[in-house]
């Protein structure tokens, strides 16, 4: 029940292949988040699952049934759109009731279902109002109400929170998490927001130009990125990427000429092998002079209160990001020494594959 399976799914717009053969299984009751850069095909994939877009190759299975012949309304899916897409000329009540009426439900049943859903989302007061007379957050709640009122097995959310202000986003995020607990339905959630993805997801699917780059729990994709793309996409501020070469003895040779020992022992491959070292910003720290491996000039310091994000330009012209304490003394234009902590560091080959 409620599991969604994609088998080699493809989509073409004209001659452009937008979805390039995606295999994915979303288990029943799971909350999976799709992330990826703009235009990578997240919405398209969601719309294909919903049946709003034809599948040009491969198969989509919902609850084990191949759905290509099924109309959107018959698939047991509901979708929440980024712009809410509430029917502007109908009251919230009618917005919720519209789908139930289409399914031929008796009037009294429609009424009780709508009121039950409204109570769940605390929108009973809004029922007589039209969308125009609601705030963004209220519209969002009604849009979610319209999705859950039909008791679908699969929920599809296409960036539902991106039009809300920060505080409301946090509130709606927890509300969605709560709904997921209560309804125990399968949910697929598209977002641009790192925090949303990390906090909501059972598993994250990282997409890039129509392909799956990695599927994993939030911890996995953060700490064990499968490739350079995932490493640089997940995490905010983004991972620092430094070009290095393998030294004679399997050590790391930085651009500055400094040598470091790889925590696991040696790095593989022949001496002189060019690699990219990935380090999260919290693995970089300010150190006293002559202790650091890299030096650079601060050219932006973001003081966030409990922490400070420093953007540093190295002598070799690389941009680095450091996450340090809120009371870090560095100021704009300072020359700083940076120490690298290689625990949890990643190494990528020139093709972007993770090697170590």
């Amino acid at each position: 029940m409620g599991a969604v399976q994609l088998l080699g799914v493809q989509k073409f717009f004209g001659t452009m292949e937008v979805i390039k053969g995606i295999d994915l299984r979303v288990d029943d009751g799971e909350l999976v988040v799709f992330v990826g850069p703009s235009g990578c095909g997240k919405s398209t994939l969601l719309r294909m699952i919903a049946g709003l877009e034809d599948v040009d190759g491969g198969e989509v299975l919902i609850s084990g049934v191949e759905v290509s012949g099924l109309a959107p309304a018959k698939r047991g899916v509901a979708m929440v759109f980024q712009n809410y897409a509430l029917y502007p000329h109908m009251s919230a009540y009618d917005n919720l009731a519209y789908g139930l009426r289409r399914s031929g439900m008796a009037r009294a049943d429609v009424d009780s279902r709508v009121r039950e859903t409204a109570a769940l989302l605390q929108i009973t007061d809004l029922l007589p109002r039209r969308p125009k007379a609601m705030s963004g957050g209220q519209r969002q709640r009604v849009a979610i109400g319209r999705a859950i009122v039909r008791k679908p097995e699969v929920f599809l959310f296409d960036e539902p929170l991106s039009n809300l202000d920060a505080a409301l986003r946090v509130e709606m995020r927890s509300q969605i998490a709560r709904l997921h607990q209560e309804l125990k339905a399968t949910m697929i959630f598209v977002t641009h927001d790192q925090v949303e993805a990390m906090t909501l997801a059972d598993r994250i699917v990282v997409l890039n130009s129509g392909r799956v780059e990695q599927v994993g729990t939030p911890r996995e994709v953060y700490h064990n990125p499968a490739n350079l793309f995932v490493a640089s996409f997940i995490g905010s501020p983004a991972m620092n990427l430094l070009p290095i070469t393998r030294g004679e003895d399997g050590s790391i040779l930085l651009e500055s000429g400094e040598q470091m020992i790889w925590p696991g022992g040696k790095i593989d491959g022949p001496p002189g092998r060019a690699l990219t070292l990935g380090l999260r910003p919290d693995r970089l720290s300010l150190v006293g002079s002559d202790q650091g491996q890299i030096s650079g000039t601060v050219h932006l310091a973001e003081h966030l209160g409990d922490e400070t994000i420093l953007h540093v330009q190295t002598a070799a012209g690389r941009a680095l990001t450091l996450k340090c304490d809120g009371d870090a003394p560095a100021r704009l234009g300072d020359l700083v020494q940076i120490g690298l902590d290689l625990t949890g560091a990643c190494l990528f080959d020139p093709d972007g594959r993770r090697v170590q």
Binding site: R47, A50, L52, A71, M79, F81, N83, Y87, P88, S103
Partner: protein, 283 residues
């Protein structure tokens, strides 16, 4: 010192000149209408009186009763014909053109752009080119002399109105239709219950255009209708004038009563015209 108006005298003069010029120009355009209106309340002698009578004296309302009771000019009958004709065409246009525009603007299908291109090409084709074969066709069907040839074609769309409405249908968010699809509405129902309410104002305006166009339509009725009792006013008025060239006052009364409904319609709906087409479809 006494505080004077803050508008500079030069500005006042400029405004005065501007308004004087505009009034003079409007007067040129309004004069024929005014002449028609006052002639409707004069007798023939007064219409041609020298010096010109700028205001009818006495106001002869008997023209009105004469017009309505004459048996060689079934005015009320023809008025009803015109109303029927105009409303039928308006309904047909709103129905067919909004369906076509929905398809062109909101649905995706193979060859859509080609078919739309051909439809727009039909705009460039003068009606007179296809007139003869169409006329022969209707005659073959035995429907010459009825309103069928005048109304039925509009149930199959009109290139200009399709073109105009499509722009507004394009403005309806795709997600609205997607949401309705997920709610289980058929395409026809989506058109009727979801999309049409979003383009209500443009649709009403298209209907009004159709009414005004049909009300003044002359050529079609002239070709297809033979019986005076079947004529719409545009044609009826013309044949009356042709037959009774010297009864100017009755003609003018008829003309006034023919023009009046359109003037009233415009005054009642002008707010729609000013706002509707300018503002976006979703408001």
């Amino acid at each position: 010192m006494k505080k004077t108006s803050r508008i500079a005298p030069a500005r006042v003069a400029q405004t005065l000149v501007y308004h004087a010029v505009m009034l003079a120009i409007s007067a040129v355009f309004l004069l024929p209408f005014y002449w028609m209106a006052i002639s409707a309340f004069k007798n023939n002698a007064e219409i041609f009186a020298n010096p010109v009578l700028w205001f009818p004296d006495p106001i002869r309302l008997e023209n009105l009763t004469a017009l309505l009771t004459r048996d060689d000019f079934p005015f009320l009958r023809q008025f009803a014909n015109s109303v029927f004709y105009a409303l039928s065409v308006a309904c047909a246009v709103c129905f067919s053109c909004s369906l076509a525009a929905y398809s062109f603007g909101c649905l995706r299908w193979r060859g859509r752009n080609l078919v739309f291109g051909l439809t727009v090409c039909a705009l460039l084709l003068p009606g007179i080119v296809t007139f003869l074969p169409v006329y022969l066709g209707w005659t073959k069907l035995g429907l010459n002399g009825t309103y069928w040839p005048l109304i039925a074609p509009f149930f199959f769309g009109d290139a200009f109105f399709i073109f105009m409405l499509r722009q507004f249908f394009l403005g309806v968010p795709r997600e609205l239709m997607d949401a309705a699809r997920l709610d289980g509405a058929s395409e026809f129902r989506i058109w009727w219950q979801i999309v049409l309410p979003q383009v209500r104002t443009p649709l009403i305006i298209v209907g009004l255009f159709a009414i005004v166009y049909t009300w003044n339509e002359f050529f079609g009725p002239l070709i297809y209708l033979q019986d005076r009792d079947e004529f719409p006013l545009s044609l009826g008025l013309f044949t009356f004038q042709a037959a009774r060239a010297r009864e100017w006052s009755i003609s003018m009364t008829g003309a006034l009563l023919t023009a009046l409904p359109m003037v009233v319609l415009f005054l009642v709906t002008q707010r729609l015209f000013r706002q509707g087409l300018a503002s976006s479809t979703l408001k």
